[in-house]
């Protein structure tokens, strides 16, 4: 199931809302299902009915939901942009801002990095890149053909993750100027070389003559 369409019941949502607050303060390791039940004002029995897989299931779903929300913020920023460079820079900045403002994600990255493996590590990173491509490519097809829209989404994710792992002033993505400079200098020229205008489906440039590949 695509995380952008995480399906949850309202009880699950209530529990996840409580859990994300607890993680922001105490982290994942120290948060128990009992804590979540208390904070969400539900009985433990109800909580277990919502998450038959227990704590693992709850936190898996929570991670999916929070990633989906972050990607939603990125998609909104991309949708509001009038051209590709603006879309890419705004998307990058939206991701950084959403992450910085997310106390639970920050706590995990700062204090429980072993749990961040689900996002940053090797095979898991490939999985995350797939998730990002699937979620964001549809918002970039206004500017690019399908394969490039997927690639642009993936590239943004790579830049974002690199900034997360090796934060330096030149990659301080919370600064919109930094995002604009990186996109203008390094990302936009790659796509500008392909076509000079947003792709009009009626006049597909010759290099893009192959049929669009579905993004999966």
């Amino acid at each position: 199931m695509a995380p952008s369409a995480v399906v949850t019941t309202s009880s699950q949502e209530r529990a996840l809302d409580a859990a994300v607050e607890l993680v922001a303060r105490w982290g994942v390791t120290k948060t128990t299902l009992g804590d979540v039940a208390r904070a969400a004002a539900m009985s433990r029995a109800t909580l277990y009915r919502c998450f038959p897989g227990g704590k693992d299931e709850l936190f898996d779903l929570l991670a999916q939901r929070e990633v989906a929300r972050l990607l939603g913020a990125v998609a909104d920023a991309v949708d509001a942009a009038g051209d590709l460079p603006t879309a890419l820079a705004a998307g990058l900045h939206a991701a950084a801002r959403a992450f910085d403002g997310h106390a639970a994600l920050r706590f995990v990255l700062d204090h429980e990095p072993d749990l961040a493996t689900a996002v940053l590590g090797f095979a898991e990173m490939d999985r995350l890149l797939r998730v990002v491509r699937r979620a964001l490519a549809p918002h970039l097809v206004r500017f690019l053909d399908a394969p490039d829209a997927g690639w642009a989404a993936e590239w943004l994710a790579r830049v974002f993750l690199s900034a997360l792992v090796s934060p330096t002033p030149a990659f301080h993505l919370a600064d919109p100027e930094v995002c604009h400079r990186l996109v203008r200098r390094y990302l936009a020229p790659a796509f500008a070389a392909r076509s000079t205008a947003p792709v009009d489906r009626g006049t597909v440039p010759s290099h893009a003559a192959s049929p669009p590949v579905p993004i999966h």
Binding site: G121, D126, H207
Partner: protein
């Protein structure tokens, strides 16, 4: 320990060869312990890496390990990961050192780096079975690795014909981060295909950096094959 071994320790890697003349182990003790820790991680995994086993493998006393690594197991593990990452990069640089042009160097860095990682038994074991133990250490050394790759690339950027206004240092940083990202995950790119790597490097990573575009990648499709 003797004054000589103390001196060797201070010299680190570079002092390694000299003490062989005295009939001692050719490697500096500290390095020997790190090598042993990496080997031990390959057989027992990071979770069961114990100072006793590392000491035995290195042929030193347990106390010697603690003298060099007062933090014990944790410190040995953390430094062994950094040490091995550095060794990996040195091996990779040796493989691509004869490539003069920047694009070719980046292409081979990605292609051969991936092969080197796949062939590295210890990396593979740890990546496959306990990535959650490796990642925290890797993320500790990531900024150092990224700076090392940047510094390696920088002179090649200074020698290249760049788009006006390009800062070689910043461009080297950009390229280094991208190369490392592709060593970690291939994403939508088939990096076993040399043509795909050419497209990635020449038509994408270098698109905003080189003034005189390098020979475009073979074929007319500049996008990743998905």
């Amino acid at each position: 320990m003797s004054e000589r071994s103390e001196r060797t320790r201070q010299h680190g890697l570079s002092g390694g060869g000299a003490c062989g003349a005295a009939g001692d182990d050719p490697l500096d003790v500290r390095t020997r312990i790190l090598v042993a820790a990496v080997d031990q991680a390959g057989s027992s995994g990071l979770a069961r890496l114990r100072v006793d086993d590392v000491a035995r493998r290195a042929g030193v006393a347990r106390a010697t390990v603690y003298r060099h690594f007062p933090g014990g197991r944790e410190q040995v593990t953390a430094e062994a990961v950094t040490f091995e990452v550095a060794r990996f990069l040195i091996a990779l640089v040796a493989l691509i050192d004869d490539i003069a042009d920047l694009a070719g160097r980046l292409e081979q860095g990605i292609s051969r780096g991936r092969v080197l990682m796949a062939e590295h038994a210890v990396i593979q074991r740890v990546v496959d079975t306990e990535p959650e133990r490796l990642l925290p250490h890797l993320s500790q050394s990531a900024p150092l690795v990224q700076a090392a790759v940047r510094d390696h690339l920088r002179p090649h950027l200074e020698a290249a014909d760049l788009v006006p206004g390009t800062d070689p240092e910043e461009a080297a940083d950009w390229l280094g981060r991208n190369v490392l990202s592709f060593l970690m995950a291939s994403g939508g790119w088939d990096l076993d295909d040399p043509d795909a790597v050419r497209r990635l490097v020449r038509d994408n990573l270098l698109a905003g950096i080189l003034a005189a575009p390098v020979a475009p990648a073979a074929g007319c499709d500049r996008r990743p094959s998905q």
